[in-house]
Subunit: 332 residues, 2 copies
């Protein structure tokens, strides 16, 4: 392992994406998002993804020259076309518009279509909390979860994130995907030849399996079984049928040859002033938090991320030497 | 069992609530909602609840004279005060306002505070689908689920429902609570002295238990473990901190002596015209549905409800003789 400053890791990652065909603003937006995940202690969504993004940029599965644009806006809604580029600029535009519209109307929603890997879902919501608003984010993804009773992956891992600002404190952050475990965990078991626990994945007949290799050819189990598949369906419709994005089953896996994913994201922003009021919201949220923290063993969602960010700012980010080497080679 | 017509069951249920102290409109709104659940094949949320509602009305835990009112409205948001009455009139007002505002602004949200048992969550969303809009409903409930790592119930069962209208067809309906199983199921095991499966509930130390009696003194397991508790937290903040409702941990169990629950509900209504457009939404939703139904064993969420309603309209509703007797006594 070696330690690298936040600034240097952003510079290196942006350069790697730039050399792979991304425009300067696209590369910088993606690099900041990936490094933010590393800072938050989420390395699976951090700069370890750079080589995949770079490969997609070179193969045209992500259009490095894309300039995301607002396709439609009126009232409390906005639709952004990512134009086949990486997800981060388009999502930032969508969130900016939603915050602006929620300030006026009390609630707003933005959709993003023609997009790519969402990264860590809650990342996009930071400006929502900064504005003092509540944010909810959804994304679809290449198919991973069966419809209930089915055999073939149909819905994506379909993450749901939410951010709840606090007065003078770091926000509560919820961020979860709708699978029981991430695919990478099963890949690790397959590599090591170990059996996976029941409940993680299904074989290609939709039956539970403990064989990691069989699982990788099958599908991921939805969190909580049927209820997880129902939540994945909600995310699918909200991110795709409403926005113009491709459904998860229309989108090629990131890990096999294919075309542009063209997936979608949705952001809902709520201004507490439209309901019981901002001061009321802040004070009542603290009542809930106090009750949670009164119990030993309970932590606030997001607290580990905030602690990790503070540490990363002070002492830098640890990455493996091989990952560092990979970034250097991509930047050359 | 005996068979009773829909109209007669509504009349009888409304009369039972009326005699227990509910105003005529409150009694009728609640009776229609309860009978709708029986029609949909959801007897746990049907007229079997009448005696509990009646008891709450007599004890003042639900105010039969309450007239729900709009506490605040502007732009795309609306806040309704149920004023301590049953949930159905207030929720109907909230949904009507949200539909009206979504028509103008593209998205809208209504909150309800000072409310009571939500009934079957998706019921409230019927007018949303009738308007051709997408609806999402949330409610909190007296505490049932621990915060992750905690020992005491803190969040409610916190149902999430969604409705997705189809062109000239019955809508897709998703309706789920965030517990692994309903409490009634564990009550049944306790009564029969049978052990419950691991994963349904926790003891009062927050540890998994297979003893149904111990489980009833402990808490219900969140669906999918930690992820279920995170979703319950989202619902809790959206239904309470934003609206003025009591948190689940501030609300007394329906099944023990206590005060008014004062819980909250939230409704988000999305007008597809604000995003990719209504015609686009309808046609793309059918693409997803066709893909789902192409697989043997997959059914559309809500399809059983629609079939049950058709049957109930044609042939009436079956209820037990003891339940019928109970309704007659309450109506006397």
């Amino acid at each position: 392992m070696l330690t690298i400053t936040v600034e240097e890791l952003i510079r290196l990652t942006a350069l790697a994406l730039r050399k792979s065909g991304a425009s300067q603003p696209m590369a910088l937006a993606a690099a900041k998002a990936l490094v933010a995940a590393d800072m938050e202690g989420l390395p699976t969504h951090g700069v370890s993804r750079t080589s995949l993004y770079a490969q997609h940029l070179r193969e045209g599965r992500a259009d490095g020259k894309a300039k995301p644009r607002i396709a439609k806006r009126s009232g409390a809604t906005c639709l952004v076309d990512a134009c086949g580029g990486l997800a981060f600029q388009a999502s930032a535009i969508a969130v900016t518009e939603a915050v602006k519209r929620a300030r006026r109307h009390g609630i707003a929603m933005s959709g993003v279509m023609n997009s790519h890997h969402f990264g860590a879902a809650a990342y996009h919501l930071t400006p929502v909390a900064d504005a003092g608003f509540v944010g909810i984010a959804f994304s679809n993804a290449p198919s991973a979860i069966n419809a209930w009773g089915g055999k073939k992956p149909l819905f994506g891992t379909n993450p749901i994130a939410a951010i709840f600002p606090r007065r003078n404190k770091s926000p509560i952050i919820v961020d979860l995907s709708l699978t029981e475990v991430v695919r990478g965990k099963i890949m690790l078991y397959a590599k090591e030849g170990k059996p996976i626990p029941v409940g993680w994945a299904l074989d290609s007949e939709g039956k539970p399996t403990t064989d990691a290799r069989v699982a990788l050819a099958g599908s991921l189990a939805a969190v909580g079984g049927m209820k997880g598949t129902m939540l994945a369906l909600i995310v699918e419709v909200v991110c795709c049928a409403l926005t113009g994005a491709a459904f998860s089953f229309e989108s090629d896996s990131y890990f096999a040859p294919g075309g542009k994913p063209r997936i979608g994201h949705s952001f809902i922003v709520i201004n507490p002033d439209g309901l019981a009021g901002t001061e009321y919201y802040y004070s009542r949220l603290e009542v809930m938090i106090a009750r949670m923290l009164a119990e030993e063993g309970v932590r606030l969602p997001g607290s580990r991320r905030h602690a990790a960010v503070t540490k990363a700012r002070a002492t830098g980010i640890e990455i493996s030497e091989s990952l560092h080497e990979e970034l250097i080679q991509l930047s050359a």
